[in-house]
């Protein structure tokens, strides 16, 4: 096989993977948007219309009048701006792009299997986006940077240091602790695990969804080098939760995690703030503000 046909085949095969179903909500959003967007008149058709000289003259006069009137009203007055820009309507929360974010409501995707499940939250300016489910605080080059993540977990690893049950270094593996499907099931399993400490859960409601809030704290003296990690070397870390959408963030020694675990119409959604004792209070307040603004679209 030639080099060219080989790379052709590889690329075709690679591109066959990935989502190929449009999320249902796009139809609704587009229908809403076009209902207030007029279609452009077809210049192609207009050019074909015959115009007699009298109409041309009248059109020219009319255009001049329109321009004069518009110019009068557009002229700046008192040194001000002639026309205040009309803000663009916000049709839907923005996707979490990669890089520094401006303030606004953003959309997160906690599930790789269900693109319709969305979490939206208000994120302050200066936070950093990491598609599709994580934002980190300003100055995230700091290894103890604060992060807010949205995730799903189907269970727990009893020993978060030994999560690589298949021996292939892949995250997203099944945990060895079976956990029921509700928020309180997961809370109870976390509380029962001696590998970390956790606080009493408090009942909370985010949006219209009930759940529980608690803090989980990892020991300060973990020997991460002895933990599982990439089989290609270099990275060792804890994994508390199990499942394909459970671990978008490293977990390591001294990590503290504020968790809000919600029951959303049969799906358990977790909002996690990961921080440490060194995290500035202002950043922690901002992170809590993000979580408090959460709305979940099942």
């Amino acid at each position: 096989m030639s080099e060219r046909s080989d790379i052709d085949r590889v690329l075709r095969h690679w591109m066959d993977d990935g989502p190929s179903t449009m999320p249902d909500r796009i139809v609704d959003v587009v229908a809403d948007r076009i209902s207030v967007h007029p279609q452009r008149r077809s210049w192609r058709l207009l050019r074909r219309l015959p115009m007699n000289p009298r109409i041309k003259l009248a059109a020219g006069v009319a255009a001049a009048v329109v321009l004069a009137v518009a110019g009068y009203y557009l002229l700046p007055r008192d040194g001000g701006v002639g026309v205040q820009p009309t803000p663009s309507p916000t049709w839907s929360p923005r996707a979490v792009g990669e890089g520094v974010l401006t303030a606004g409501r953003y959309r997160f995707r906690p599930s790789s299997a269900d693109p319709n499940l969305a979490v939206t939250a208000e994120v302050p300016a200066g936070w950093n986006g990491h598609p599709d489910r994580v934002v980190t605080g300003p100055g995230d080059d700091d290894p103890v940077a604060i992060a807010v993540a949205f995730l799903l977990a189907d269970g727990l690893h009893s020993d978060p240091c030994r999560w690589d049950r298949l021996g292939n270094g892949q995250r997203g593996q099944l945990g060895n602790l079976v956990v029921g499907p509700t928020a309180i099931d997961l809370v109870n399993a976390l509380r029962a695990n001696p590998a970390y400490t956790s606080t009493e859960p408090n009942p909370v409601t985010l949006g219209t969804h009930p759940g529980f809030a608690l803090e989980v704290r990892l020991p300060d003296d973990l020997n991460l080098e002895a933990c599982d990690g990439s089989i290609l070397g270099g990275t060792h870390y804890y994994q508390i939760f199990s499942g394909p959408d459970a671990n978008p963030l490293f977990q390591g020694d001294g990590n503290r995690m504020d968790l809000v675990i919600l029951d959303v119409e049969g799906t358990r959604v977790i909002a996690m703030i990961r921080f440490s004792d060194d995290t500035p209070a202002a950043d922690l307040d901002a992170a809590r503000g993000i979580v408090e603004s959460v709305e979940v679209v099942p």
Partner: protein
């Protein structure tokens, strides 16, 4: 039947346009995702492209060319979006998702990771051209017509993109895994 839908939409029939969105949306979304490699951005790009399509639809000369025309609009929106992408080294504290797919006889997970990295290093035009060629199946001359570029330019960019992707595949996988220390 589709020609009828397009013509009705051209005359301002919103329901007909929504039917077109329903019938073409999956394909368009798949194209956007493959250029942008991000579900949310693909969704936003598709929404924007469809609204532009609605606005400009009366100017479409041949209703039978609706698909190619929509591909062009979408590709241009995706290229513009990808051009705005802030390029930065992936944050070491955030882990990319694992591909939970079953083992693949042609591509290993490491291959896919390398391809993904190589693809993201391409410029937006090259990414779009690769997707139009290998996912949609357009010939280089068709891509040239779609993007309004000379066919020779398309072939040249395809060649460069192929070379870059081949180099990405050949790269030592050990240099590409997520590195750094955990936090």
């Amino acid at each position: 039947m589709d020609r009828d839908l397009v013509e009705r939409a051209q005359r301002g029939d919103q329901a007909a346009f929504v039917d077109l969105v329903r019938s073409r949306g999956d394909r368009l979304f798949a194209i956007a995702y493959r250029i942008l490699r991000d579900v949310d951005r693909a969704e936003d790009a598709l929404q924007d492209a469809l609204v532009i399509a609605w606005r400009d639809l009366p100017d479409l000369r041949d209703p039978d060319r609706f698909d190619a025309w929509a591909h062009r609009l979408l590709t241009n929106v995706c290229i513009a979006d990808a051009g705005r992408e802030r390029r930065r080294i992936a944050n070491l504290h955030v882990l990319p998702l694992d591909d939970a797919a079953a083992p693949d006889d042609l591509l290993t997970l490491a291959d896919r990771d390398q391809l993904d990295r190589g693809f993201r290093r391409l410029n937006a035009d090259e990414r779009a051209i690769l997707v139009l060629r290998h996912y949609v199946g357009y010939e280089p001359t068709e891509i040239a017509e779609l993007l309004g570029l000379p066919a020779g330019t398309i072939r040249s960019r395809l060649h460069h993109a192929h070379r870059a992707m081949r180099a990405a595949l050949d790269a030592d996988a050990r240099t590409a895994v997520v590195g750094g220390t955990s936090a």
